[in-house]
Protein backbone atom coordinates (compact mmCIF):
# COMPACT_ATOMS: atom_id res chain seq x y z
CA UNK A 1 0.00 0.00 0.00
CA UNK A 2 1.66 3.22 -1.20
CA UNK A 3 1.19 6.22 1.13
CA UNK A 4 0.11 9.58 -0.21
CA UNK A 5 -0.14 12.83 1.72
CA UNK A 6 -2.98 15.33 1.55
CA UNK A 7 -3.36 18.08 0.50
CA UNK A 8 -2.66 16.63 -2.94
CA UNK A 9 -1.19 18.55 -5.85
CA UNK A 10 -2.29 18.01 -9.43
CA UNK A 11 1.04 16.30 -10.01
CA UNK A 12 0.47 13.89 -7.09
CA UNK A 13 -2.90 12.98 -8.48
CA UNK A 14 -1.71 12.47 -12.04
CA UNK A 15 1.00 10.10 -10.82
CA UNK A 16 -1.60 7.62 -9.47
CA UNK A 17 -2.13 4.50 -11.59
CA UNK A 18 -5.42 2.73 -12.17
CA UNK A 19 -5.77 -0.28 -9.86
CA UNK A 20 -3.04 0.88 -7.50
CA UNK A 21 -3.78 0.43 -3.77
CA UNK A 22 -2.97 3.46 -1.64
CA UNK A 23 -3.35 4.86 1.87
CA UNK A 24 -3.81 8.53 2.69
CA UNK A 25 -2.56 10.76 5.50
CA UNK A 26 -3.54 14.35 6.12
CA UNK A 27 -6.81 16.30 6.02
CA UNK A 28 -9.92 14.80 4.46
CA UNK A 29 -13.45 16.20 4.46
CA UNK A 30 -16.79 14.36 4.42
CA UNK A 31 -19.71 15.43 2.23
CA UNK A 32 -22.84 13.64 1.07
CA UNK A 33 -25.98 14.63 -0.83
CA UNK A 34 -27.06 17.57 1.34
CA UNK A 35 -23.60 19.09 1.73
CA UNK A 36 -23.02 18.86 -2.03
CA UNK A 37 -26.29 20.64 -2.74
CA UNK A 38 -25.61 23.38 -0.21
CA UNK A 39 -22.01 23.88 -1.36
CA UNK A 40 -23.09 24.29 -4.97
CA UNK A 41 -25.85 26.67 -3.99
CA UNK A 42 -23.61 28.86 -1.83
CA UNK A 43 -20.48 28.59 -3.97
CA UNK A 44 -16.85 28.30 -2.82
CA UNK A 45 -16.73 31.79 -1.26
CA UNK A 46 -19.57 31.11 1.15
CA UNK A 47 -18.82 27.48 1.93
CA UNK A 48 -16.38 26.04 4.48
CA UNK A 49 -12.83 26.72 3.28
CA UNK A 50 -11.83 23.11 3.96
CA UNK A 51 -13.76 22.01 0.87
CA UNK A 52 -11.46 23.81 -1.56
CA UNK A 53 -8.85 21.58 -3.16
CA UNK A 54 -9.67 18.88 -0.66
CA UNK A 55 -9.78 15.11 -0.52
CA UNK A 56 -13.54 14.62 -0.40
CA UNK A 57 -14.92 11.59 1.41
CA UNK A 58 -18.42 10.37 0.58
CA UNK A 59 -19.26 9.32 4.10
CA UNK A 60 -21.90 9.83 6.75
CA UNK A 61 -20.00 8.76 9.84
CA UNK A 62 -21.17 7.78 13.30
CA UNK A 63 -19.48 10.27 15.59
CA UNK A 64 -19.88 10.30 19.35
CA UNK A 65 -19.48 13.48 21.34
CA UNK A 66 -18.57 13.85 24.97
CA UNK A 67 -17.67 17.21 26.51
CA UNK A 68 -17.17 18.74 23.10
CA UNK A 69 -14.68 16.06 22.06
CA UNK A 70 -15.67 14.04 19.02
CA UNK A 71 -14.61 10.52 18.28
CA UNK A 72 -15.26 8.62 15.11
CA UNK A 73 -17.05 5.35 15.84
CA UNK A 74 -17.68 4.12 12.30
CA UNK A 75 -16.83 5.77 8.98
CA UNK A 76 -17.07 3.75 5.79
CA UNK A 77 -17.82 5.12 2.32
CA UNK A 78 -21.35 5.74 1.07
CA UNK A 79 -22.64 5.09 -2.47
CA UNK A 80 -21.04 7.73 -4.67
CA UNK A 81 -23.52 7.39 -7.54
CA UNK A 82 -26.03 9.45 -5.57
CA UNK A 83 -23.71 12.43 -6.09
CA UNK A 84 -23.25 11.75 -9.82
CA UNK A 85 -25.23 14.80 -10.90
CA UNK A 86 -23.38 17.13 -8.52
CA UNK A 87 -19.77 15.98 -8.47
CA UNK A 88 -18.54 17.25 -11.83
CA UNK A 89 -19.51 20.79 -10.85
CA UNK A 90 -17.98 20.31 -7.38
CA UNK A 91 -14.68 19.24 -8.95
CA UNK A 92 -14.68 22.20 -11.34
CA UNK A 93 -15.68 24.86 -8.82
CA UNK A 94 -13.96 23.61 -5.66
CA UNK A 95 -10.86 22.07 -7.25
CA UNK A 96 -11.41 18.73 -5.51
CA UNK A 97 -8.29 16.55 -5.97
CA UNK A 98 -9.61 13.18 -4.87
CA UNK A 99 -13.00 11.69 -4.16
CA UNK A 100 -13.21 8.70 -1.83
CA UNK A 101 -16.36 6.59 -2.04
CA UNK A 102 -17.81 3.31 -3.14
CA UNK A 103 -19.42 1.96 -6.29
CA UNK A 104 -17.83 4.41 -8.73
CA UNK A 105 -19.15 7.49 -10.55
CA UNK A 106 -20.56 8.42 -13.97
CA UNK A 107 -18.54 9.14 -17.10
CA UNK A 108 -19.50 12.79 -16.75
CA UNK A 109 -17.65 12.89 -13.42
CA UNK A 110 -14.73 10.96 -14.91
CA UNK A 111 -14.51 13.64 -17.62
CA UNK A 112 -14.30 16.40 -15.00
CA UNK A 113 -11.58 14.37 -13.25
CA UNK A 114 -9.52 14.16 -16.41
CA UNK A 115 -10.00 17.83 -17.16
CA UNK A 116 -9.16 19.16 -13.68
CA UNK A 117 -6.78 16.52 -12.32
CA UNK A 118 -8.75 14.51 -9.80
CA UNK A 119 -9.04 10.80 -8.98
CA UNK A 120 -11.65 8.48 -7.53
CA UNK A 121 -10.44 6.25 -4.73
CA UNK A 122 -12.59 3.23 -3.92
CA UNK A 123 -12.84 2.47 -0.23
CA UNK A 124 -14.12 -0.92 0.92
CA UNK A 125 -17.84 -0.48 1.51
CA UNK A 126 -18.85 -1.27 5.05
CA UNK A 127 -15.31 -1.44 6.44
CA UNK A 128 -16.36 1.30 8.82
CA UNK A 129 -14.47 0.32 11.96
CA UNK A 130 -11.16 -0.11 10.17
CA UNK A 131 -11.46 3.29 8.50
CA UNK A 132 -12.70 5.01 11.69
CA UNK A 133 -9.59 3.91 13.54
CA UNK A 134 -7.38 6.06 11.35
CA UNK A 135 -9.52 9.22 11.59
CA UNK A 136 -9.75 12.02 14.14
CA UNK A 137 -12.19 14.89 13.92
CA UNK A 138 -10.58 18.33 13.72
CA UNK A 139 -13.72 20.39 13.07
CA UNK A 140 -17.31 20.19 11.88
CA UNK A 141 -19.28 22.51 9.62
CA UNK A 142 -22.96 22.55 8.67
CA UNK A 143 -23.85 20.44 11.68
CA UNK A 144 -27.48 21.46 11.21
CA UNK A 145 -27.63 18.94 8.33
CA UNK A 146 -27.44 16.12 10.87
CA UNK A 147 -24.69 13.69 11.80
CA UNK A 148 -24.66 11.84 8.49
CA UNK A 149 -24.88 14.88 6.22
CA UNK A 150 -22.63 17.35 8.07
CA UNK A 151 -19.19 18.33 6.76
CA UNK A 152 -16.70 16.65 9.07
CA UNK A 153 -13.09 17.77 8.81
CA UNK A 154 -10.86 14.91 9.76
CA UNK A 155 -7.20 14.14 10.05
CA UNK A 156 -6.32 10.81 8.48
CA UNK A 157 -3.31 8.68 9.29
CA UNK A 158 -2.62 5.81 6.90
CA UNK A 159 -6.28 5.75 5.90
CA UNK A 160 -6.80 2.76 3.62
CA UNK A 161 -6.92 0.50 1.73
CA UNK A 162 -8.10 2.63 -1.20
CA UNK A 163 -8.06 1.45 -4.82
CA UNK A 164 -7.45 4.01 -7.58
CA UNK A 165 -10.66 3.17 -9.47
CA UNK A 166 -10.93 6.23 -11.75
CA UNK A 167 -7.60 7.83 -12.59
CA UNK A 168 -6.81 11.38 -13.69
CA UNK A 169 -7.06 10.26 -17.33
CA UNK A 170 -10.71 9.51 -16.64
CA UNK A 171 -10.17 5.74 -17.06
CA UNK A 172 -12.43 3.69 -14.82
CA UNK A 173 -12.02 0.22 -13.37
CA UNK A 174 -15.80 -0.02 -13.02
CA UNK A 175 -16.25 0.67 -16.72
CA UNK A 176 -13.80 -2.03 -17.72
CA UNK A 177 -15.45 -4.51 -15.34
CA UNK A 178 -18.90 -3.55 -16.67
CA UNK A 179 -17.79 -4.15 -20.26
CA UNK A 180 -16.53 -7.62 -19.39
CA UNK A 181 -19.58 -8.70 -17.38
CA UNK A 182 -21.15 -11.98 -18.42
CA UNK A 183 -24.94 -11.87 -18.17
Amino acid sequence: MRMIHAPLSEEDVRSLRLGEVVGISGPIVTARDEAHMRALEKGPENSPGCLRGCVLFHCGPIVSESDGVYSVVAAGPTTSARMDKLEAEMIRRFGIRAVIGKGGMSSEVADAMRECGCVYLAAVGGAAVTYAESLTVTDVEWKDLGMAEAVWEMDASSFGPLVVAIDADGDSLYESVRKRIRR
Binding site: E34, V73, A74, T79, G104, G125, T130, A132
Partner: protein, 290 residues
Protein backbone atom coordinates in the same frame (compact mmCIF):
# COMPACT_ATOMS: atom_id res chain seq x y z
CA UNK B 1 -29.29 -8.37 46.07
CA UNK B 2 -32.27 -9.34 44.02
CA UNK B 3 -31.64 -9.05 40.32
CA UNK B 4 -34.54 -7.65 38.41
CA UNK B 5 -35.36 -9.60 35.27
CA UNK B 6 -34.50 -7.87 32.01
CA UNK B 7 -37.41 -6.03 30.48
CA UNK B 8 -38.43 -6.61 26.87
CA UNK B 9 -37.02 -3.17 26.14
CA UNK B 10 -33.60 -4.16 27.56
CA UNK B 11 -33.65 -7.36 25.55
CA UNK B 12 -34.37 -5.53 22.30
CA UNK B 13 -31.47 -3.12 22.96
CA UNK B 14 -29.26 -6.20 23.34
CA UNK B 15 -30.72 -7.68 20.16
CA UNK B 16 -29.89 -4.52 18.20
CA UNK B 17 -26.38 -4.48 19.64
CA UNK B 18 -25.84 -8.10 18.65
CA UNK B 19 -27.15 -7.56 15.12
CA UNK B 20 -25.05 -4.45 14.51
CA UNK B 21 -21.76 -5.55 16.02
CA UNK B 22 -21.52 -9.24 15.15
CA UNK B 23 -21.67 -10.64 11.65
CA UNK B 24 -23.74 -13.86 11.55
CA UNK B 25 -21.46 -16.90 11.48
CA UNK B 26 -22.78 -18.28 8.20
CA UNK B 27 -21.85 -15.03 6.45
CA UNK B 28 -18.37 -15.10 7.98
CA UNK B 29 -17.89 -18.64 6.69
CA UNK B 30 -19.11 -17.68 3.23
CA UNK B 31 -16.61 -14.79 3.15
CA UNK B 32 -13.77 -17.06 4.17
CA UNK B 33 -14.69 -19.60 1.55
CA UNK B 34 -14.83 -16.84 -1.06
CA UNK B 35 -11.39 -15.56 -0.09
CA UNK B 36 -10.12 -19.10 -0.60
CA UNK B 37 -11.14 -19.30 -4.25
CA UNK B 38 -10.66 -15.64 -5.25
CA UNK B 39 -7.66 -15.24 -7.57
CA UNK B 40 -8.03 -11.55 -8.47
CA UNK B 41 -5.69 -9.52 -6.23
CA UNK B 42 -7.94 -6.45 -5.85
CA UNK B 43 -10.92 -8.70 -5.07
CA UNK B 44 -8.86 -10.58 -2.50
CA UNK B 45 -7.81 -7.32 -0.83
CA UNK B 46 -11.47 -6.23 -0.56
CA UNK B 47 -12.52 -9.52 1.05
CA UNK B 48 -9.58 -9.32 3.46
CA UNK B 49 -10.55 -5.79 4.51
CA UNK B 50 -14.17 -6.86 5.03
CA UNK B 51 -13.26 -9.80 7.27
CA UNK B 52 -10.75 -7.74 9.17
CA UNK B 53 -13.37 -5.06 9.77
CA UNK B 54 -15.96 -7.58 10.97
CA UNK B 55 -13.50 -8.98 13.51
CA UNK B 56 -12.62 -5.51 14.80
CA UNK B 57 -16.30 -4.55 15.10
CA UNK B 58 -17.07 -7.63 17.16
CA UNK B 59 -14.01 -7.20 19.36
CA UNK B 60 -14.64 -3.50 20.00
CA UNK B 61 -18.43 -3.85 20.20
CA UNK B 62 -18.92 -1.25 17.49
CA UNK B 63 -21.34 -1.26 14.56
CA UNK B 64 -19.58 -3.04 11.66
CA UNK B 65 -20.87 -0.42 9.22
CA UNK B 66 -21.65 3.25 9.80
CA UNK B 67 -24.93 2.80 7.98
CA UNK B 68 -26.81 1.04 10.73
CA UNK B 69 -29.83 1.28 8.48
CA UNK B 70 -33.51 1.22 9.26
CA UNK B 71 -34.26 -1.79 11.44
CA UNK B 72 -37.23 -3.91 10.42
CA UNK B 73 -38.75 -6.06 13.15
CA UNK B 74 -40.70 -9.31 12.89
CA UNK B 75 -42.68 -10.11 16.01
CA UNK B 76 -44.20 -13.57 16.37
CA UNK B 77 -45.44 -15.94 19.05
CA UNK B 78 -47.42 -14.64 21.99
CA UNK B 79 -47.55 -10.91 22.58
CA UNK B 80 -49.80 -8.00 23.38
CA UNK B 81 -49.92 -4.43 22.17
CA UNK B 82 -47.26 -3.26 24.66
CA UNK B 83 -44.55 -4.81 22.46
CA UNK B 84 -44.66 -1.84 20.11
CA UNK B 85 -43.82 0.63 22.87
CA UNK B 86 -41.03 -1.67 24.10
CA UNK B 87 -39.45 -1.83 20.66
CA UNK B 88 -39.81 1.89 20.09
CA UNK B 89 -38.11 2.78 23.37
CA UNK B 90 -35.41 0.19 22.67
CA UNK B 91 -34.63 1.72 19.27
CA UNK B 92 -34.31 5.15 20.86
CA UNK B 93 -31.99 3.82 23.55
CA UNK B 94 -29.94 1.72 21.15
CA UNK B 95 -29.45 4.78 18.93
CA UNK B 96 -27.91 6.68 21.83
CA UNK B 97 -26.13 3.80 23.58
CA UNK B 98 -24.52 1.62 20.88
CA UNK B 99 -24.58 4.23 19.13
CA UNK B 100 -26.53 3.84 15.88
CA UNK B 101 -26.62 6.54 13.24
CA UNK B 102 -29.89 8.50 13.25
CA UNK B 103 -31.10 7.71 9.74
CA UNK B 104 -34.81 8.39 9.85
CA UNK B 105 -36.02 11.51 8.02
CA UNK B 106 -39.29 12.89 6.69
CA UNK B 107 -39.29 11.81 3.04
CA UNK B 108 -40.33 15.25 1.79
CA UNK B 109 -38.81 17.81 4.16
CA UNK B 110 -35.79 15.50 4.79
CA UNK B 111 -35.85 16.55 8.45
CA UNK B 112 -34.21 13.97 10.73
CA UNK B 113 -36.18 12.80 13.77
CA UNK B 114 -32.85 12.28 15.57
CA UNK B 115 -33.53 8.92 17.20
CA UNK B 116 -34.63 6.53 14.43
CA UNK B 117 -38.24 6.56 15.63
CA UNK B 118 -41.34 8.53 14.66
CA UNK B 119 -43.17 9.01 11.34
CA UNK B 120 -44.40 5.41 11.60
CA UNK B 121 -41.05 3.90 12.58
CA UNK B 122 -39.94 1.47 13.92
CA UNK B 123 -41.50 -0.72 11.25
CA UNK B 124 -42.85 -3.95 12.73
CA UNK B 125 -44.52 -6.99 11.19
CA UNK B 126 -46.76 -8.97 13.53
CA UNK B 127 -47.45 -12.71 13.20
CA UNK B 128 -49.20 -14.07 16.29
CA UNK B 129 -48.80 -17.83 16.89
CA UNK B 130 -49.69 -20.20 19.75
CA UNK B 131 -46.08 -20.67 20.93
CA UNK B 132 -45.25 -20.06 24.59
CA UNK B 133 -42.66 -17.41 23.78
CA UNK B 134 -42.39 -14.02 22.13
CA UNK B 135 -39.96 -14.06 19.20
CA UNK B 136 -38.43 -10.90 17.77
CA UNK B 137 -36.27 -10.97 14.63
CA UNK B 138 -34.50 -7.83 13.52
CA UNK B 139 -33.00 -6.97 10.17
CA UNK B 140 -31.22 -3.60 10.04
CA UNK B 141 -30.93 -2.68 6.36
CA UNK B 142 -28.62 0.03 5.07
CA UNK B 143 -29.66 2.24 2.17
CA UNK B 144 -26.88 1.16 -0.22
CA UNK B 145 -28.46 -2.25 -0.64
CA UNK B 146 -32.08 -1.31 0.12
CA UNK B 147 -32.06 1.27 -2.70
CA UNK B 148 -31.43 -1.53 -5.21
CA UNK B 149 -34.79 -3.20 -4.49
CA UNK B 150 -36.85 -4.19 -7.53
CA UNK B 151 -40.29 -5.61 -8.19
CA UNK B 152 -41.60 -7.08 -11.44
CA UNK B 153 -45.03 -8.40 -12.22
CA UNK B 154 -43.90 -10.96 -14.78
CA UNK B 155 -46.18 -12.94 -17.02
CA UNK B 156 -46.66 -16.58 -16.00
CA UNK B 157 -45.25 -17.50 -19.43
CA UNK B 158 -41.92 -15.84 -18.50
CA UNK B 159 -41.36 -18.83 -16.20
CA UNK B 160 -38.20 -19.76 -14.33
CA UNK B 161 -36.04 -18.30 -17.06
CA UNK B 162 -37.79 -14.94 -16.74
CA UNK B 163 -37.25 -15.03 -12.99
CA UNK B 164 -33.55 -15.80 -13.40
CA UNK B 165 -33.02 -13.02 -15.92
CA UNK B 166 -34.82 -10.47 -13.75
CA UNK B 167 -32.84 -11.36 -10.62
CA UNK B 168 -29.51 -11.43 -12.46
CA UNK B 169 -30.17 -8.04 -14.06
CA UNK B 170 -31.12 -6.53 -10.69
CA UNK B 171 -27.83 -7.72 -9.16
CA UNK B 172 -25.60 -6.85 -12.11
CA UNK B 173 -27.17 -3.43 -12.76
CA UNK B 174 -26.67 -2.60 -9.08
CA UNK B 175 -22.92 -3.03 -9.68
CA UNK B 176 -20.78 -2.01 -6.72
CA UNK B 177 -23.47 0.09 -5.06
CA UNK B 178 -24.86 -2.48 -2.59
CA UNK B 179 -21.37 -3.48 -1.38
CA UNK B 180 -20.95 -6.90 -2.98
CA UNK B 181 -20.43 -9.71 -2.26
CA UNK B 182 -24.12 -9.63 -1.45
CA UNK B 183 -26.83 -11.94 -0.21
CA UNK B 184 -29.64 -11.86 -2.74
CA UNK B 185 -33.15 -12.06 -1.28
CA UNK B 186 -35.75 -13.14 -3.82
CA UNK B 187 -39.50 -13.13 -3.24
CA UNK B 188 -41.65 -15.08 -5.66
CA UNK B 189 -45.44 -15.04 -5.64
CA UNK B 190 -47.90 -13.37 -3.33
CA UNK B 191 -49.41 -10.06 -4.37
CA UNK B 192 -47.17 -7.12 -5.28
CA UNK B 193 -46.91 -5.88 -1.67
CA UNK B 194 -46.48 -9.36 -0.22
CA UNK B 195 -43.84 -10.21 -2.82
CA UNK B 196 -41.58 -7.34 -1.72
CA UNK B 197 -42.00 -8.48 1.90
CA UNK B 198 -41.05 -12.04 0.92
CA UNK B 199 -37.83 -10.85 -0.71
CA UNK B 200 -36.78 -9.17 2.52
CA UNK B 201 -37.89 -12.05 4.72
CA UNK B 202 -35.76 -14.37 2.57
CA UNK B 203 -32.69 -12.55 3.97
CA UNK B 204 -33.56 -13.87 7.44
CA UNK B 205 -32.74 -17.41 6.30
CA UNK B 206 -29.11 -18.31 7.05
CA UNK B 207 -26.89 -19.29 4.11
CA UNK B 208 -26.32 -22.80 5.47
CA UNK B 209 -30.05 -23.50 5.71
CA UNK B 210 -30.90 -25.76 2.78
CA UNK B 211 -34.42 -25.52 1.49
CA UNK B 212 -36.42 -28.76 1.45
CA UNK B 213 -38.10 -27.61 -1.76
CA UNK B 214 -36.08 -28.76 -4.76
CA UNK B 215 -37.41 -26.05 -7.08
CA UNK B 216 -36.13 -23.43 -4.64
CA UNK B 217 -32.76 -25.15 -4.21
CA UNK B 218 -32.28 -25.34 -7.97
CA UNK B 219 -33.10 -21.69 -8.41
CA UNK B 220 -30.79 -20.63 -5.56
CA UNK B 221 -27.89 -22.74 -6.76
CA UNK B 222 -28.35 -21.81 -10.40
CA UNK B 223 -28.34 -18.09 -9.65
CA UNK B 224 -25.38 -18.45 -7.28
CA UNK B 225 -23.24 -20.03 -10.00
CA UNK B 226 -24.41 -17.63 -12.69
CA UNK B 227 -23.82 -14.49 -10.63
CA UNK B 228 -20.41 -15.55 -9.38
CA UNK B 229 -19.42 -16.25 -12.97
CA UNK B 230 -20.39 -12.71 -14.02
CA UNK B 231 -17.07 -11.11 -13.08
CA UNK B 232 -18.60 -8.17 -11.15
CA UNK B 233 -16.70 -9.10 -7.99
CA UNK B 234 -16.35 -7.53 -4.53
CA UNK B 235 -17.34 -3.83 -4.57
CA UNK B 236 -17.87 -4.08 -8.32
CA UNK B 237 -14.12 -3.95 -8.91
CA UNK B 238 -13.97 -7.34 -10.65
CA UNK B 239 -13.45 -10.89 -9.40
CA UNK B 240 -15.29 -14.13 -8.87
CA UNK B 241 -17.15 -13.29 -5.66
CA UNK B 242 -20.28 -11.32 -6.51
CA UNK B 243 -22.73 -13.03 -4.17
CA UNK B 244 -22.36 -14.99 -0.93
CA UNK B 245 -25.69 -16.67 -1.41
CA UNK B 246 -29.16 -16.48 -2.92
CA UNK B 247 -32.20 -16.93 -0.68
CA UNK B 248 -35.59 -17.52 -2.23
CA UNK B 249 -38.94 -17.40 -0.46
CA UNK B 250 -42.16 -18.20 -2.28
CA UNK B 251 -45.89 -18.07 -1.61
CA UNK B 252 -48.94 -18.67 -3.76
CA UNK B 253 -50.06 -16.10 -6.29
CA UNK B 254 -52.89 -15.31 -8.71
CA UNK B 255 -53.15 -17.68 -11.65
CA UNK B 256 -52.58 -14.76 -14.02
CA UNK B 257 -49.53 -13.33 -12.15
CA UNK B 258 -45.89 -14.07 -11.52
CA UNK B 259 -44.64 -11.44 -9.05
CA UNK B 260 -40.88 -11.42 -8.43
CA UNK B 261 -39.03 -9.09 -6.07
CA UNK B 262 -35.35 -8.68 -5.30
CA UNK B 263 -34.05 -7.28 -2.03
CA UNK B 264 -30.28 -7.26 -1.86
CA UNK B 265 -28.44 -7.64 1.44
CA UNK B 266 -24.90 -6.24 1.45
CA UNK B 267 -21.98 -8.33 2.76
CA UNK B 268 -22.97 -6.78 6.10
CA UNK B 269 -26.31 -8.57 6.13
CA UNK B 270 -27.12 -8.10 9.77
CA UNK B 271 -29.74 -10.13 11.56
CA UNK B 272 -30.49 -11.42 15.02
CA UNK B 273 -33.37 -13.16 16.75
CA UNK B 274 -34.47 -13.61 20.32
CA UNK B 275 -37.08 -15.74 22.07
CA UNK B 276 -38.42 -14.28 25.27
CA UNK B 277 -40.01 -16.71 27.74
CA UNK B 278 -42.13 -16.07 30.75
CA UNK B 279 -40.17 -18.33 33.10
CA UNK B 280 -36.58 -18.52 31.85
CA UNK B 281 -33.88 -16.29 30.38
CA UNK B 282 -34.15 -15.19 26.75
CA UNK B 283 -32.41 -17.12 23.99
CA UNK B 284 -30.53 -15.25 21.28
CA UNK B 285 -29.39 -16.55 17.90
CA UNK B 286 -28.14 -15.27 14.57
CA UNK B 287 -29.02 -18.55 12.91
CA UNK B 288 -32.01 -20.80 13.49
CA UNK B 289 -33.38 -21.80 16.89
CA UNK B 290 -32.95 -25.46 17.66
Amino acid sequence: MIQLPETTEDIVVRLLRLANTKLPEDIGWALEAAAGWETDSIAYSQLGAIMDNAKKAEFLGRPMCQDTGIPVFYVSGRFDSSVRGDIERAVRRATAEIPLRPNLVDPLTRENTGDNTGLGAPFIHYRPTDDDFLQIDVLPKGAGSENMTRLAMLNPADGIEGIQRFVADAVLDAGGRPCPPTVVGVGIGGTSDRCVELAKEALLRPLDDRSRDKSIRDLEEGLFVKLNGSGLGPMGLGGSTTVLGVRVKKEGCHTASLPVAVNIGCWATRRASVRIYRDRPPEFTQGVFR
